[in-house]
Amino acid sequence: MTVETNDRRNVVGLGILSEINSRLIKRLVAFTAVAIFVTGCASKPNSTLQDEANASTDDQWAQTEGSTAVDEGDNDPIETVNRFIFAFNDAADTIIFRPVAEGYRFLVPSPIRDSVRNFIRNTYTPVILANDLLQGDIEKAENTFARFLINTIAGAGGLADVASQTGLEYHSEDFGQTMGTWGVPEGPYLVLPILGPSNVRDGVGLIGDALLDPLTYVAKTEVLIGRKVTDGIDKRSRNIETVDELKRDSVDFYARVRSLYHQKRVNEINDGEAEPTLAPGLTDIFPEDDDQVSYAE
C-alpha cells in the first residue's frame, strides 16, 4: 500500500517536474527573445547619441549620460505620464502604504520583522544566484549559495540570518542589474504603478526575475502576491523617515527621486566601484567633462 502511494507520488512529482521544465524552457526562450528585442531597440537611438558624444569628448565614460542628458530631462521622454503615475503612487502611499508600514512597524516587534525579512530574502535565493551566475560573478554566487544552505539549515528555514554573522553578508541582484553589467543601456525612465521608479531595462528585468524564480512555477498566485506585498511593506517600514525627509528636502520631489533612482542603479551595477571597468556605457559618478558644459556662458 505504502509502496503504491510512494510510486504514485513519484510519478506525480516527475510529471510536475517535466511540465515545469518544458514551461520554463518555453518561457525562457520567449523571454530571451523579448530581452534581445528590447536591448536592440534601446541601444539603437543611444548609439547615434554616443557617436555624437564621441566626436565632442575623448572621455569614454562621460559620454552616455553627459550633462546634456541631465539638462534635457534625465532621459524621461514620457515625463507627463510618469508624473501622473508618480502622483498616483504618492497618493496611494500616503493613504495606504505608509500607514500600513507604520502600523506594521508599531505592532510587530523588530526581531520578528527581521525574521520576516530574512525568510523572504531566503526565498529569493534562486533569483539572486541565477543573476550572480549570469553576471559571471562566481564569488558572489558562492556567497549566495552558502548563505542559502546555512540559513535554511541552521537558520530555521531562513528565519534567522545566521550566515551574516559568519561574514557572509546579504547582497541583492536582479536581472535589470545583470543586463546593466552586460552593457544594456537603461533606456527611458519609467514610473510603474505601485512598483514605483524604474526604466525600460529594469522593467524588463522584473519580468526576467519572475521567470528566473522557481517559485513562479510551483507556488500559488496568492502566495506570490503575499510575498511581494509583505516584502513591500517591510521595505517601506524601513525607510519611513528617509522618504519623509526627502520629500521635505526637495523642491521637485519627482525629479529628485528620478535622479536618485538612476544614481542608485548605476552604483549597484558597478557594485560600488566609481570606475566601471567592465561594461561600457555606464556613468561615472564624477564625469570628467561636465564643468565645461555648466560653466559655458
Binding site: 523642491v251 525629479a255 542608485k264 564624477f286
Partner: protein
C-alpha cells in the same frame, strides 16, 4: 675585460632607467597622497571645531560656514546645480542664489558633519583624473555600518591648496542630485531663478533641509 666594462655599462644603464621610472611613477603618486592628506587634515580640523561641546550653536554654525567656504567650491556647485539656467539668470539673482545655496548646504550638512566628525574616517585610495582627484574614503559611525564616501577634489587655480567640488555617498552625488531637482523645478517655473530663490528661502525658514535628529 671589454666584456666586463660593457656589462658594467649595461647595469648602469639599467639602474639609471629604473631610477628614472621610479621617479616618474613617484611623482603623481605623491600628488595623489597630497589630496588624501588634505582630506585627512580637513577631517581633523572639523573634529576639533565641530565636536567642541563648549561652543554655542551660533558659533558652531559660523565655524562650519568658514570651513565650508574655504574647502568647498560652493559657488561652483551652485552654478552647476542650476545648469543651463545660470546663463539666462540675472546677475543679482545669481548672487542671491549662491548665498541661499550656501544656507541650504549649512542647514543640510552641519548636523550630519557634526554627527560624523568624530567617527572613524579612512582614506582608502586616491584616483587621479584629468582635472581632479577622486578620494575614496570610508566613514563608520560608532554603531553604524561603514559607508563609502567619495570626494571630488580639485587643485585651486594658481595655488597648492585643494578644494572639494563634489561628494558622493554610496554612489549618490550631491551635485547631480541637486541639479536634477533644481533644474526640473526651474523648468516648471519658466526658468525664473528669482522664484526658485523665494521657494528655497521659504524652505530654509521652515527648516526643511535639516535632517531629523533620530533618523
Amino acid at each position: 675585460m671589454k666584456r666586463f666594462t660593457s656589462f658594467i655599462k649595461n647595469i648602469a644603464a639599467l639602474l639609471a632607467g629604473a631610477a628614472f621610472c621610479l621617479a616618474a611613477f613617484n611623482g603623481p603618486a605623491n600628488a595623489d597622497d597630497d589630496a588624501g592628506q588634505y582630506l585627512k587634515a580637513l577631517q581633523k580640523k572639523a573634529i576639533t571645531q565641530l565636536s567642541n561641546e563648549d561652543v554655542s550653536e551660533e558659533e558652531r554654525e559660523k565655524q562650519f560656514r568658514a570651513l565650508l567656504n574655504k574647502n568647498f567650491d560652493v559657488e561652483g556647485i551652485a552654478r552647476f546645480v542650476i545648469g543651463k539656467y545660470w546663463r539666462k539668470a540675472e546677475d543679482d539673482h545669481r548672487k542671491e542664489f549662491i548665498v541661499i545655496f550656501e544656507d541650504v548646504m549649512v542647514q543640510r550638512f552641519l548636523p550630519t558633519f557634526s554627527q560624523y566628525a568624530g567617527s572613524d574616517f579612512r582614506v582608502t585610495k586616491v584616483v587621479p583624473k584629468k582635472s581632479f582627484f577622486i578620494v575614496f574614503s570610508t566613514v563608520k559611525a560608532e554603531n553604524g555600518e561603514p559607508a563609502q564616501i567619495l570626494w571630488r577634489v580639485e587643485k585651486k587655480d594658481g595655488s597648492s591648496d585643494y578644494i572639494i567640488t563634489d561628494i558622493a555617498a554610496e554612489g549618490i552625488s550631491l551635485r547631480s542630485t541637486y541639479r536634477s531637482d533644481y533644474t526640473s523645478a526651474l523648468k516648471s517655473l519658466g526658468g525664473d531663478l528669482s522664484e526658485l530663490n523665494t521657494k528655497l528661502r521659504e524652505k530654509i525658514q521652515s527648516g526643511d533641509f535639516a535632517p531629523k535628529e533620530n533618523s
